[in-house]
């Protein structure tokens, strides 16, 4: 297929310059030589074949991707000492009460939700898979609880976004990479972050407050597919495809923030405003 005529030196030079020839980056003299060699090579399709094989090689190698757990491990290699210290202090302070009261209260609350508050937020049906974990119900309720409580409910109360990023990247409980929103409007400041253990699913959350109005905003992420959520109105804002849900008091938008990772932004703003924040926070 790649057989070409000519002496080995010129053939070697020919092959090694194919990329630059295609990109028209060669000096005129070299281009003229390449034109001549290509003609002498007697293979009219050489350039097309090269482009095709190069593309095939790239595609085949894309089969090799690192798992989320490995990526988490890699992220954990960069550990800010101050973050580590903060996390340890918070962990020690919270250990006692969290073990006793928080988990118990949460389980009780979930029990109540599972029994009677199915009306909350959901438009239609339960997710197709993972029927025991109902993100819209659980996270909508969680947002209300967080909204009413103070920051001590958070595992890591902090205004530093980098500490939050580190908190997630070094958290062994999460089996996915939590993508913290960046470049969101300056009027929103983080209050901190938590990993919520529902036993059937672990969910990361970052809480923000509006600097002027103290209004709260919650960014949840969990391992799951957007398509598993109940069907809802779909929006598209600058390539961010999202689904919209609402309740009496809150709006939610959900989007696929990474393969097998769904994010939900919950707040009292309108869905387009939430989508705008999600777009700003998700773009590089």
């Amino acid at each position: 297929m790649g057989q070409v005529a000519g002496d080995s030196t010129s053939v070697g030079i020919l092959f090694s310059h194919l990329g630059e020839y295609l990109d028209e980056e060669l000096a005129p003299e070299m281009k003229a030589k390449m034109d001549q060699w290509l003609q002498e090579a007697g293979n009219q399709n050489l350039l097309d074949q090269f482009v095709q094989k190069r593309g095939q090689l790239q595609i085949k190698l894309q089969e090799l991707t690192l798992s989320e757990s490995v990526l988490l491990e890699l992220r954990g290699f960069a550990q800010d000492r101050s973050v580590q210290a903060t996390q340890e202090v918070v962990h020690i302070e919270q250990f006692g009460r969290r073990e006793g009261s928080s988990q118990f209260v949460r389980k009780m609350v979930l029990g109540v939700i599972a029994l009677g508050l199915g009306l909350f937020l959901v438009w239609r049906f339960a997710p197709r898979s993972g029927p025991t974990f109902k993100p819209l119900e659980y996270l909508g309720f969680e947002a209300l609880m967080l909204e009413e409580s103070k920051e001590e409910r958070l595992n890591l109360p902090t205004n530093e976004i980098n500490e939050i990023r580190q908190f997630f990247s070094s958290n062994p409980d999460l089996s996915f990479a939590f993508k913290v929103l960046k470049d969101i409007p300056d009027s929103w400041e983080p209050d901190g972050a938590s990993v919520i253990d529902y036993e059937i699913e672990k969910v990361g959350v970052v809480q923000y407050h509006h600097k002027e109005t103290s209004e709260k905003l919650f960014h949840f992420s969990y391992k799951g597919e957007l398509s598993d959520l109940p069907k809802a109105e779909t929006g598209n804002m600058r390539s961010l495809v999202f689904q919209t849900y609402s309740s009496d008091s809150l709006n939610l938008i959900a989007w696929q923030s990474a393969p097998s990772v769904t994010s939900i932004l919950v707040g009292r703003r309108s869905a387009p405003e939430l989508a705008e924040i999600a777009v700003l926070g998700s773009t590089k």
């Binding site: 092959f15 990329g19 290699f77």
Partner: protein
């Protein structure tokens, strides 16, 4: 004040590591696979490279205009050379098997040159720098690699 200043610098290093380096992890993994032809060994190599790179980052480093992709691939090449012959583990039988077969038939430098230029998209100059060789040597290896590539069938 001094503490605050240090913390800000640390944050910049953290952000740089997460947003400029870890994003290339898959590419480093693929390059490691091209060199070792083993998934297990590639994984170990990737972890070593990122651990080492993270430990060497400083606030001064992150302010420099560095081709982070080239930096990581150069670190991969060095790490592979340091641990040469560690081709342990099971060669890939399913993932990228055609690519693995093609790489196996090539000399190490030809594999590396082909990957750096035609997969990673580095220039010939940067690829030569990454491997620590002259450009004409790089071109010779690249020529061999491309010739083999053109004779490779990627069909199942």
């Amino acid at each position: 004040m001094a503490t605050q200043s240090k913390k800000m610098m640390d944050d910049s290093v953290m952000e740089y590591y997460h947003e400029q380096l870890v994003v290339h992890a898959d590419l480093v993994y693929r390059f490691a696979f091209c060199l070792t032809l083993s998934l297990d060994t590639s994984l170990g190599l990737v972890k070593r490279i990122f651990e080492k790179t993270a430990s060497q980052l400083t606030p001064t480093t992150v302010k420099q205009e560095i081709n982070t992709k080239g930096l990581l691939l150069a670190e991969s090449w060095i790490a592979f050379q340091e641990g040469k012959s560690k081709k342990s583990g099971v060669p890939s039988l399913t993932l990228a098997k055609h690519a693995a077969k093609m790489f196996e038939s090539l000399a190490l430098e030809a594999r590396a040159a082909l990957f750096l230029v035609d997969v990673a998209g580095l220039t010939v100059k940067d690829s030569a720098k990454t491997l620590g060789i002259q450009e004409n040597q790089l071109r010779a290896h690249l020529g061999h690699g491309r010739k083999t590539l053109l004779n490779t069938s990627f069909e199942a």
